[in-house]
């Protein structure tokens, strides 16, 4: 029983960290109809920006402060990269799914390779911030502090995102745009500016996801972008395309499912979520929870 709870915590924390990438991917897909194969690369750059700053200033300032600054750096890196990707490349190919796929693939290849150019191809060690290191034991249930933190971040982002989407005018515009972006323009709102904003914020979230992810495994390498991206796509599908809360539920579901499967039948660890995505697309295209936004 205690083991099960530990497993659940692991699963939920995995879900929380996928959520950061998946939620932004979902809103971007829903609002801009953009298939972004470079989303994992934004995650990757966030992780490396974090690592570079954290490993760089760790000795000089207070550990927690260094960590916060590094997180900020990752967020900013993601945001800037997001603006560049959107304005220079993706804005040219709106409406053309084939072209988007190809251009974002190109961006993924180039920017992943650039990581190798700047930081090398080997893995680089990344430590957790001191105040989050450590493990507690509550009558058999092993609680990794860093994982609880990830869950907290996930919940925070979910609440903040939900509040922004439902309680602000910008959020209302985005929700309307996900359903019918043409009409939003016809009502007098410059929807393209929102496209850029949503993409940049989404990229920043992905960057944050990368920065938070690095200390889990303890290392970063150029490959981490793509594996996370596939999982994010799966969450977008099962959570319902375009739905923010759907991606929260989807991430939770996927995280727990993968933890359970990883424990029982490790061989199916990747096949299971991919199969689930295929099944949902075929039999329940509106998402596992029926939350996909209709157009």
């Amino acid at each position: 029983m205690a083991d099960l709870i530990t497993l659940l915590i692991t699963g939920i924390s995995e879900g929380a960290h996928i959520f950061l990438m998946a939620s932004s991917l979902s809103v971007i897909l829903g609002l801009m109809k953009v298939v972004n194969f470079a989303h994992g690369t934004l995650f990757l750059w966030g992780a490396y920006a974090f690592q570079m700053i954290f490993n760089g200033i760790s000795g000089q300032v207070n550990n927690t402060l260094a960590w916060l600054i590094s997180l900020l750096g990752a967020i900013v890196a993601g945001f800037i990269l997001g603006i560049i990707f959107e304005k220079v490349f993706i804005a040219r190919v709106y409406g053309n799914i084939g072209a988007q796929i190809l251009i974002t693939i190109g961006l993924q290849i180039v920017f992943t390779e650039l990581v190798r150019v700047f930081w090398g191809a080997r893995v680089i060690a990344v430590a957790r911030p001191e105040f989050l290191q450590g493990v507690s034991n509550f009558s058999g249930v092993i609680i990794v502090h860093y994982r609880i933190f990830l869950i907290a971040v996930g919940i925070l982002v979910a609440i903040a995102g939900h509040f922004i989407l439902t309680g602000t005018r910008a959020g209302m515009i985005i929700r309307a745009g996900v359903q019918n972006s043409e009409m939003v323009g016809a009502l007098g709102i410059n929807i393209n500016r929102y496209f850029t904003l949503v993409f940049a914020v989404g990229a920043a979230l992905a960057g944050l996801g990368g920065a938070l992810f690095a200390p889990i495994g303890g290392t970063v390498s150029p490959e981490i972008g793509n594996s996370s991206q596939l999982l994010a796509f799966i969450v977008v599908i099962i959570g319902g395309m375009g739905n923010f809360m759907g991606s929260a539920l989807g991430s939770l579901f996927l995280g727990v499912m993968m933890a359970l499967i990883g424990w029982t039948i490790p061989d199916l660890a990747l096949i299971a979520p991919v199969t689930l995505m295929a099944l949902v697309l075929i039999f329940r295209p509106q998402g596992l929870f029926g939350l996909a936004v209709k157009h």
Partner: protein, 334 residues
């Protein structure tokens, strides 16, 4: 409204002289080149078939198949697994071919059912998932496939002779190009293009779009599977990379560079991209920046989409139109 015709000059309209020239060039390469060159051109020809098959889906019927690697990968693995585990002979090769064909047919039918009821994006994602499942399965089935490390095997005579293999690839290319050409100019081929332009309208016009789509998938899948067989024979090696997303991305790039919607474009595209790739790899010796040749390769995707979205054939077509215009011919708006 305009007639629905292929956007680009079809194979036959390329001047006959050019054909003859190309044919001669290809025929005389083996005696005068290194093994490396012979192998490279063989590879180009196989990829040309692979790209043409991909473009049947993308450029003709309009399906984006993000898991297209599973067809060529299937063909490669059928040969590899049988040769490595069962035996090396022509009959076994034939068995592999039969197996690949059945495998491709099954996958084609599955995707056909899905594409009939799902949108473009959903189909793209599902096919991506399928290829990932296949790749993952092959990777875990280490006892048979040796996973990422791959299988090395010998091939039966006369395929073990590089020059023979080269001409075999050439014949393969000619046969497949001819077969696909026949399909694209057949009534079914016209339905493919009608579906690509506007499926709803094609349905209203009375075309059986589901049947046309299934045929496209079958043709495309089987041809790509056969390309996989040739690929295995050429390389004498197979690992899970042949089922990876990069393999699908390659097909997309070849047909993009050459010009989607034109069989000849796929042939040109594969030649250009493989030559460019080799060129970049060779440059590594010259300057260290080319160590990171992937950057240039990735940039190719971006640059072609932005500046030459219609590919080389599209560019040629534009020149042709301007030439006609200059000569005073009329250009009709569609």
């Amino acid at each position: 409204m305009g007639n629905i015709t292929s956007r680009f000059p079809n194979l036959i309209t390329i001047p006959k002289l050019l054909w003859l020239l190309a044919g001669i060039v290809i025929l005389i390469i083996p005696p005068i080149s290194t093994t490396a060159t012979i192998t490279m051109v063989s590879r180009i020809m196989i990829f040309a078939v692979y790209a043409m098959a991909y473009d049947i889906l993308r450029g003709y019927i309009g399906i984006i198949h993000l898991g297209f690697a599973l067809f060529i990968g299937g063909g490669t693995y059928f040969v590899a697994i049988l040769f490595a585990n069962v035996g090396i002979s022509i009959p076994i090769l034939l068995l592999a071919i039969v197996g690949t064909t059945i495998y491709s047919i099954i996958w084609a039918l599955i995707v056909g059912k899905i594409a009939a009821k799902s949108g473009l994006l959903a189909t793209a994602m599902i096919t991506m998932a399928f290829a990932e499942i296949m790749r993952n399965m092959m990777e875990r089935w280490r006892t048979v496939t040796n996973g990422l490390d791959g299988l090395t095997f010998r091939v039966p005579a006369p395929f073990d002779n590089r020059t023979f293999m080269y001409y075999a690839c050439f014949v393969f290319l000619l046969l497949m190009a001819f077969a696909l050409y026949k399909f694209t100019t057949s009534p079914t081929g016209r339905v493919w293009q009608a579906v690509r332009e506007n499926e709803q309208r094609a349905v209203f016009l009375g075309y059986d779009t589901n049947r046309a789509r299934t045929i496209a998938l079958l043709v495309s899948g089987v041809v790509a599977g056969l390309a996989g067989v040739m690929f295995a024979l050429l390389n004498r090696f197979a690992n899970t990379d042949v089922l990876a997303m990069q393999m699908t991305y390659n097909a997309m790039l070849y047909s993009l560079v050459g010009g989607s919607g034109s069989l000849f474009g796929s042939i040109i595209g594969s030649a250009v991209v493989v030559l460019f790739q080799n060129f970049l790899l060779d440059l590594r010796g010259v300057h260290f920046i080319f160590e990171r040749w992937l950057i240039f390769f990735g940039s190719l995707y971006i640059l072609v989409v932005i500046f030459m979205p219609k590919g080389i054939m599209g560019f040629v077509e534009t020149i042709r139109e301007r030439w006609k215009h200059k000569k005073g011919g009329k250009i009709y708006e569609s």
